[in-house]
Every structure is written in structure tokens, then in C-alpha cells.
Amino acid sequence: MSSHTVSKNMMILWLRKNMFSSWRSALLSLGSLWLAYLILVPILVFVVHDANWEVIVDNIHLFAVGSYPADQLWRVFLNVVLLMGLIGGTVATQTTMGIKSASLFMLFTACALWIVIGGNGSDREGMNAINHYFLIAGLGLYLLGYTTTKKKAFSRAKVFGIGWLLYILLSLILLSGFTGNSFLPKVTNHLWGGLLLTLLVTVVGIAASFPFGIALALGRKSELPVIKLFCIGFIETIRGVPLITLLFMGQVLIPLFLPPALVVSNLVRVMIAVTLFAAAYMAEYIRGGLQALPIGQNEAAQALGLNRVQTNFLIILPQAIRAVIPALVGECIALFKDTSLVAIVGLLDLTGAAKAAIGQPNFIGLEAEVFMTIALVYWIFSYLMSIYSQNLERQLGVGIR
């Protein structure tokens, strides 16, 4: 009884301290409570009561993988399982992330990836059980990746440089397959779609724009005027126009620039545009890192007899990039969100799939359900990345000065 009153008193004390410390604070508290009520209650009522979630259930295939053939889905699943292992390894490189937050991260990631794996069971008989095995395998591989990276103390550079690059290559081969191969028949990339395509454009965009961004940043700092001018012009032009312009340019100009015999698919053109766009931004972040380096580093390297290439790649860049890693992760999140624009140029990514689902005769007028769902999916992934970025910031001590 007494402990009850104590806790009650504590609560009142807490409330008084944090919400009603003065009449102004009290007024603000009440006002914001009212605002929260106004916004949250209609949304809750809608989600629980009014919404027709059938549009999501029926179209889960479209949202997850677009038009990827149903009998080849195991390739996507396998991809996801490998991705889980890699994410486990990546999380393990975070020394500030304890077991607790690592497992929380795993739970979140698993939930997000369940959309791709588990969700597909609903429309194919027999796949359901297999899906669960894939999900379990994914969780297992996550743990494996986590523990091995922890035990062997793989560096971040190793996990990113080798693990992720290898994964991107492997997943592209796995997804596209080969013509005439019975085990991995060709699945042309115009069939890829949904969340799969969104993630793919993001990952390829990040991987391709990173080296390109480094080259541009170095070029901009170069003392050779021709190279410097070119890099400045390139970076400033790209940063000065909206991404959508670049996407349209990719649509119109790339096919015109290439000889008629050389046809690149829509997806590749979009990837080129996204890569150019992200590279210009990455270059500016990396340049910030370069500028923050004391000039002594350069001079010391020269004094040791290193040549220009050695100085840049062994001394300057590792330090410069380390200083701006959080900003680069921020750029990755931005890139992930920006991939939604590829729907405007006709790709069937997550946003494109949402638009297609709304256009279906059975589900006309269900915009709220569809947009809410894809917003949630986008949010989960961006939020996971931003948690990772905040952790990095803490570990590298960039934010604390």
C-alpha cells in the first residue's frame, strides 16, 4: 500500500517537474496533448477500424519483388538470407553497440525483411513452410556473421570492402541468372521491382558513387587546373539541379548518346543517374574531410618519400573519410529515400508498386492504406540506418568536440 502511494507521489513529482513546472509549461503541455490527440486518434481509428488492408495482402508479391517470377522467388529469399548475415557482421563492427542493442537491431531487421520473405507465403501454397526456414536461416546467419566478426575482430574496412562488394556482385548474379541455364534461368531486370528494386538501386548507387565521389573530391583539391575545373563544374552542375532532372536526362540523353546497337535498360540508366547524383554529394562531404586534415599530414608523407598516389591513398584519404563517415551514412539514407523518384520514370520500385496497386480495379480509392504501408517500410529502413549512423558518430567521437 505504502509503496503504491510512494510510486504515485513519484509520478506526480515527475509530472510536476517535467510537464507542469510553470504555468507556461503547463499550458504548452496541455496544448501539445490536445494536438497529439487531434492527430493520433483519427489515424488509430483508421488503422484499426476503417482501413481495408486487403490491398496490401493481395499485392504483397508486387510490393516485395514486383514482377519477379513466382517460381524463382527462392533466389530473392537466398539473397535476403545472405544480407542478414552481412548486416550481422556490420553491426558487430560497432563497438559501442552492446549485445542488447545488437539483438534489437536484429529484431528490427528481421521484421523489415520478413516483408520480403514471410509475406510471400500467403499467395503460394507450399512456399509457406520454406519461407519460415529461410527466415530462420536468415536469423542464424545474422548471429553467425555477428559472432565471427566479433571473434575474428574483422575491421570495418574488411567487412565493407570485401563483404559488401562481394555480396553486391553475388546478388546481382543470383537475381539475373544466365540465359539458357536451367538452374539459374535468366530473369531480365525489367521484371525486378518492389522493395527488392528499391534496395538494389540504393546499394548499387552507394557502392558505385563512393569511389566516384572520392575521385571527384581529390580532383577538386588537385593543383592541376584542368582537372580541378572539370571536377568543380561537374559537382556544382549536378548539385544545382533536382534529381528528377537527372533521371529524365538519363531517360532521354543516355540512349541518344550511345550508338543504336548499344541499348542499356531503363534500370541501368536510372542507376547511372542516381550514381552521378550521389557521387557529387559524396564528393563534397569527402572534400570537407580533406579540408579538415592538417596540412602537416601531407608534408610528413612527402618527407617520408611517398609519391602522390601513395600519399593520397595511404595517408590522406583514410583519415579524411573517417572524419566524415556519419555524413556519408546520412547521404546513404538520403539516397535510399531518393530512390522513390525512380517510380516517376516508370520503374516498378516500392513507390511504383504502390501506384500500380492503387490503379487496380478492386482497390480503387485505397490510397491511405497503401501510402501508409510503404511509408512504414521506408521509415523502418531509414530509421535503422540512422540508428547505425548515430552509433558510428558516438564510436568515432565525431559529434563530441
Partner: protein, 398 residues
């Protein structure tokens, strides 16, 4: 060679250094090589393009822009289908500027509020502000725009069931209709009086400035000039034979409301989406800016006996602004560029109108060049302002 400090000592040796070990020479060659590669690549790409275009009898020229447009544009400055493509392009550009300027103003206000809210000691305000930032900035703007337009603005009741709000404002899915002033015969005369009012306001200001300099006592330099200005401009209304402005309220007539001022749902959807999205980023910038001001600064000001408001206005804010402004201006630039997403909800901005022109005339490449030129000059304009501000607020080191 002059780079080498030993050159004067070993001149005879230096001459014998082969050209491929000469730093200057290598640099020159490298640049030449780079130039050649880029040049040849560009030549090859352009050659392909021109041969492809010639194959289909297409040319790159801007002459078509003077032809009659033949389509209508839903909103913006006066435009008829008889006007040229140039005029249509201008309509789009003005619409882009319009939505961008309003978006910048609103998102700055909202972002500052949320940013300060994130530093609040009030638990609820703090939590809500944090939730706002974490939710809004992690969802793509495109999805948010779709949601605002389709789920919120189009779901408002139809024109005949429009929601009347106080002040004869009408809200429906045809947009928001506000009462607005319309000019009468004496409007021009009144504008003359307003000019006079501005002049007298400035006059009072200069007098007070001189007084301040002479007496050394700080004078409130805002109140009196403002009073003089509003006094002159208001009194002149009664001096005129007829009121210079007349308030027109929107009334339902035929298919639509007539009179007053009208914001279409497309415009409001875009404006809301841009404002909400950009405000989340501005909030983070404002928060970081305030946190960047050293704690001791506030404490020192407190010790000097300044009130909290004075501390914020005179000590914290000016210092925070130096940190805030550059990334803030970048957000303004982002907002302007993001307004090109108007395309997906049917607002006639620069990009949407350009797409229509490109399509109706079949001239894609000149239009792409025009769009890029427009956005680039906007960016250049904003980055000039950033640079100007940076030099202006730089801490002068002695």
C-alpha cells in the same frame, strides 16, 4: 623548375633532367591526357547523338519556343492557349518561385519552433518534437506528397459541401478560398501615399539614429518609424474620395467560388509537403546551432543581469545564427529543387510545364537544357547569398 629550391645551385644538372621526370611537364601532360580523354568521350557521345537526331530529322534549336502553346495551365499568372511556349515556361517558373518562397518562410518558422521544442525541458513538447523529426525525415518526400494530396486534400468535402471557416474562408477539395482585397479607382493614388509614408518613416529613422549617436543613449529604432509609417498610410485612406481597397468574399457561383483569393489543393499539397519535410531538417539545424553556442556564454550573460529573452536575442541567437545559416540556406536550396516533384500531384511548376512543352513540341533536349539552366541559376543565386553572408558574419580576427 622554380619549385626546386636547389635549382639555382645545380642549374647545369637541372637542365639535364629528362622531360618525363620534370614535375611541371608531367603535370602538363597529365592535364592534356585528361583533357583528351574527356574531349574524345564527349565528342563520341555528341557524335552519336547528332547522327541519331539527323536520322529522325530532329534538330536542337530554340525557335519553337515562340510558337503558340495551344494548351492551358491550371494556375499562375495570366496565360491563354494563344500565348507562346516561352510564356508557358514563365508561368511555370513564377509558380516554382511562388511555392518556394512561401515554403521557405513557413518551414523556417515551423522548423525553428520544433528545433527549440527539441531542447525544451517539457517532456511532452520534447517527445513530440523528437517524434516529428524522426518520423518525417525518414519517409521519402515523394510518398509524403502523394499522401498529402490524395489522402488529405482530395478527401476534403466537395465544393457544394465546403467547410465554412470563420472569416468567410471556405475549405473544400477545390482548395481554400479566402476573402481578399481588390483594387478600386483610387488604388494607384493610395500607393503614392504609401510611398510617402515609407519616406517619412525613413526620415524619422535617420533623425533618431543621429540623436542616438549624439546622445549615446540607445533609442528604440523600430516603434516610432513604424508608427509614423502606418499613421500616414492609414490616414491617407480617409483623405481619398473612395476606399482604395475593397474586400471581396468568395461566393459560390456556377461550378466554383468567385471572388477572393484561391489556393488550389495541388498548391496546398505541395506547400504542406515541402514545409513539413523541410521543417524536420531545419529543426535539426536549429537545435545543433543553439547547442553549438558555448554554455558559458549564456551563464556570463546571466551574470551580467540580462533577462532570458535578452540572453536569447543578444547573446545566443547571433552566435547560433553563424552556425545555422550555411546549412539552412542549403535546405532552402533543397526545398526549391524538391518543388520539382509538383509533377506527381499536378501542380503547374517549372518542371511540369516544361514536360508538357517538351511533349507537345517534341523538343526534349532544348527543354532539358532550359530546365537545367533555370535551376542552376537559382542555385547560383542562393549560394551567392550564402557566401555573402559568410563573409559578412565571419569573426574578425585581429
Amino acid at each position: 623548375m622554380t619549385n626546386n629550391p636547389h635549382s639555382s645551385l645545380h642549374k647545369s644538372e637541372a637542365i639535364r633532367i629528362p622531360f618525363y621526370r620534370n614535375v611541371k611537364m608531367i603535370n602538363l601532360l597529365l592535364q592534356l591526357l585528361f583533357f583528351l580523354i574527356i574531349g574524345i568521350l564527349a565528342f563520341w557521345l555528341l557524335r552519336n547523338m547528332f547522327s541519331g537526331l539527323a536520322q529522325q530529322n530532329l534538330k536542337i534549336q530554340f525557335g519553337f519556343m515562340t510558337e503558340e502553346a495551344g494548351f492551358s495551365i491550371s494556375e499562375g499568372i495570366e496565360f491563354s492557349s494563344k500565348n507562346s511556349y516561352w510564356k508557358a515556361f514563365q508561368v511555370g517558373a513564377v509558380n516554382t518561385l511562388y511555392v518556394s518562397v512561401l515554403g521557405i518562410l513557413l518551414s523556417t518558422v515551423l522548423g525553428t519552433l520544433i528545433g527549440v521544442g527539441r531542447l525544451s525541458h517539457n517532456f511532452l513538447i520534447n517527445t513530440l518534437s523528437t517524434a516529428y523529426v524522426e518520423i518525417v525525415r525518414n519517409i521519402p518526400l515523394l510518398v509524403q506528397l502523394f499522401a498529402w494530396y490524395h489522402v488529405v486534400y482530395l478527401a476534403l468535402p466537395g465544393i457544394r459541401q465546403s467547410i465554412p471557416l470563420p472569416g468567410s474562408i471556405h475549405l473544400s477539395n477545390r482548395g481554400a478560398f479566402f476573402p481578399w482585397w481588390e483594387g478600386t479607382d483610387t488604388t494607384r493614388m493610395w500607393f503614392g501615399f504609401i510611398g510617402l509614408a515609407i519616406l517619412s518613416g525613413i526620415g524619422v529613422l535617420t533623425i533618431m539614429k543621429r540623436k542616438e549617436r549624439r546622445s549615446g543613449l540607445p533609442q528604440s529604432k523600430i516603434l516610432l518609424p513604424l508608427l509614423v509609417f502606418s499613421g500616414v498610410s492609414l490616414l491617407s485612406i480617409f483623405a481619398l474620395p473612395q476606399y482604395p481597397l475593397h474586400l471581396s468574399s468568395p461566393r459560390l457561383k456556377g461550378f466554383n467560388f468567385q471572388g477572393g483569393i484561391h489556393f488550389s489543393p495541388e498548391f496546398m499539397g505541395l506547400l504542406t509537403g515541402l514545409t513539413i519535410y523541410t521543417a524536420a531538417f531545419i529543426a535539426e539545424i536549429v537545435r545543433a546551432g543553439i547547442l553549438a553556442v558555448h554554455k558559458g556564454q549564456g551563464e556570463a550573460a546571466q551574470a551580467l543581469g540580462l533577462t532570458p529573452l535578452q540572453i536569447f536575442r543578444r547573446v545566443v541567437f547571433p552566435q547560433a545564427l553563424r552556425v545555422i545559416f550555411p546549412p539552412l540556406a542549403n535546405q532552402y536550396l533543397n526545398l526549391t529543387k524538391n518543388s520539382s516533384l509538383a509533377l506527381v500531384i499536378g501542380f503547374a511548376d517549372l518542371f511540369q510545364v516544361s514536360q508538357t512543352i517538351s511533349n507537345q513540341s517534341g523538343n526534349a533536349i532544348p527543354i532539358i537544357l532550359l530546365i537545367m539552366g533555370s535551376y542552376l541559376s537559382l542555385s547560383l543565386f542562393i549560394s551567392t547569398i550564402i557566401n555573402w553572408f559568410n563573409t559578412k558574419t565571419e569573426i574578425v580576427t585581429r
